[in-house]
């Protein structure tokens, strides 16, 4: 889950990006971790997260492995599963992540999770001052913090900024820069609308931490530029 730490973009442009995830520590609190992770995700449903996932089963947006010519052209694609189906499919303990684009929902969800006292480690990846403010509002003292210090080394190998903003929303690198660039071009050329392009990219991020709302905003800006 370092995969949520290095999202590229200027701080002031990240006000709609919050990832909350829960996990058990290996060898510490694994007992009942699957059921606890499912409870964590079910609690999030009432706040309608824009994405959700568990790396063992995939995210809300997922590839369709059983398409046919008839299904594709006459029935249509079904690219998004339901919250309930995803939660029921989780086969074992692992990280459980939800993504929000609304600060108030994050605040209320954190409050709910604290009351549940699941005994899982819960982390929030977002703008640090914003999360610290939320912690203050709900009277939580965070245990630890991890700051991103950015990208270093041979940064000449990185793609251009708009592509990087999209591709780094899957920190495991499953939204490739070439695919992100292709999606920008498809939107720019009017071959796809920004919503379809965002959902298309989200399918590649198996942990479910790709923020589709932010992706649509980036695609919109990039296609105008």
């Amino acid at each position: 889950m370092t995969n949520t730490l290095h999202r590229f973009g200027k701080s002031e442009k990240l006000p709609d990006d919050y990832i909350v995830f829960a996990m058990a520590g290996k060898g510490f609190n694994e007992e009942g971790a699957l059921e606890k992770a499912q409870t964590f995700l079910r609690t999030a449903i009432k706040y309608q997260p824009i994405n959700m996932g568990n790396a063992l089963v995939n995210s809300l947006y997922r590839p369709e492995k059983n398409l046919s010519f008839f299904k594709l052209y006459f029935v249509g694609r079904q690219e998004k599963t339901t919250y309930e189906q995803l939660i029921d499919e989780i086969p074992g303990p692992g990280s459980a992540a939800v993504v929000f684009d609304d600060r108030e929902k994050v605040r209320q969800f954190i409050q709910d999770v604290e009351k549940l006292d699941l005994g899982l480690s819960v982390n929030v990846s977002a703008l640090v001052d914003d999360v610290r403010d939320i912690c203050g509002e709900v009277d939580i003292t965070p245990h630890a913090v991890e700051y991103t210090l950015g990208f270093h080394g041979d940064t000449s190998k990185l793609p251009e900024r708009e592509t990087l903003k999209l591709s780094t929303m899957c920190g495991h690198g499953m939204v490739s820069p070439n695919f992100a660039k292709k999606m920008i071009n498809h939107v720019k050329e009017g071959r796809m609308d920004k919503e379809d392009a965002a959902h298309c990219m989200a399918k590649f991020c198996v942990c479910g931490v790709f923020n589709t709302t932010r992706a649509m905003r980036i695609l919109d800006n990039a296609s105008r530029g």
């Binding site: 520590g25 006292d117 640090v128 203050g136 245990h143 942990c207």
Partner: protein
Amino acid sequence: MRISKEKCVGCANCVAVCSVGAIYIGEDGLSEINAESCVECHNCYRSLSYEHLMPGPIRIIRRMLKKVGLRFQPDPDLCPTEAIIPEDLEWPRIVRRAFSDPMVTHESTGVHGRGTEEVKTNDVSHRIKPGEVGLVVEFGRPGIGVYFREVQKATRVMAAEGVTFEEGNPITQMMISQATGDIREDVLDEKVLSCIVEITMPVDDVVRTLNVLRGICKNAETVISIGASTVCDEKGGDPLRSILEKEGYDIGWAKLNLGFGRVTNASVTNMEN
């Protein structure tokens, strides 16, 4: 991973989705994978949708459309003929998948993804203690990739500077000597999408260590993403942020462990005792 020449129709959708640009269109107009560049992340196989069309008729349709200046182009997230085929991997190539496929669990640590929990479960593991800083140095991210031989260049420099490598980390587990930073010889020519080296130090030593990392980054042939973590004090603040800001780092995005693992701030309590 390989692409079946019998099934591929050359739509090139897999070319763009490859995490490291290892897929290309060969001279025969069909997709191929550069095995040396491929990191076995399984992204193409796992995340493309399949339409199960018959390759023969599709090739004929493609040729006919081409003659009238048109192009058969399936949805961009689709392999129309299910042409991508995973292969059984043997040591040491299997290491590529262990580090690059987020759905695979690392045998050495029991953690999937990059194989380390870092500070995410620190409220129960106390991996980073009060007064300490953890640096998470990720080679190859985002989307560039790295050979372990290059990672070893960095771990050798770190070891020479006397850093402490985190035990619960798959790179540390692949070292033959933490004193020298040497990684086992048989994996050095393997390429992965990214891998994390974790080191721990007293907060007083973080500036010196960041300078060591600057030297490593200056000579790096890949991109390196760095994270810095520490335990919060009883008010939720920390001494690390001001140090990082003084060192010129722009602090904005971060990850906060809320301490819900039922031992909230236990390490702070221990320190007070």
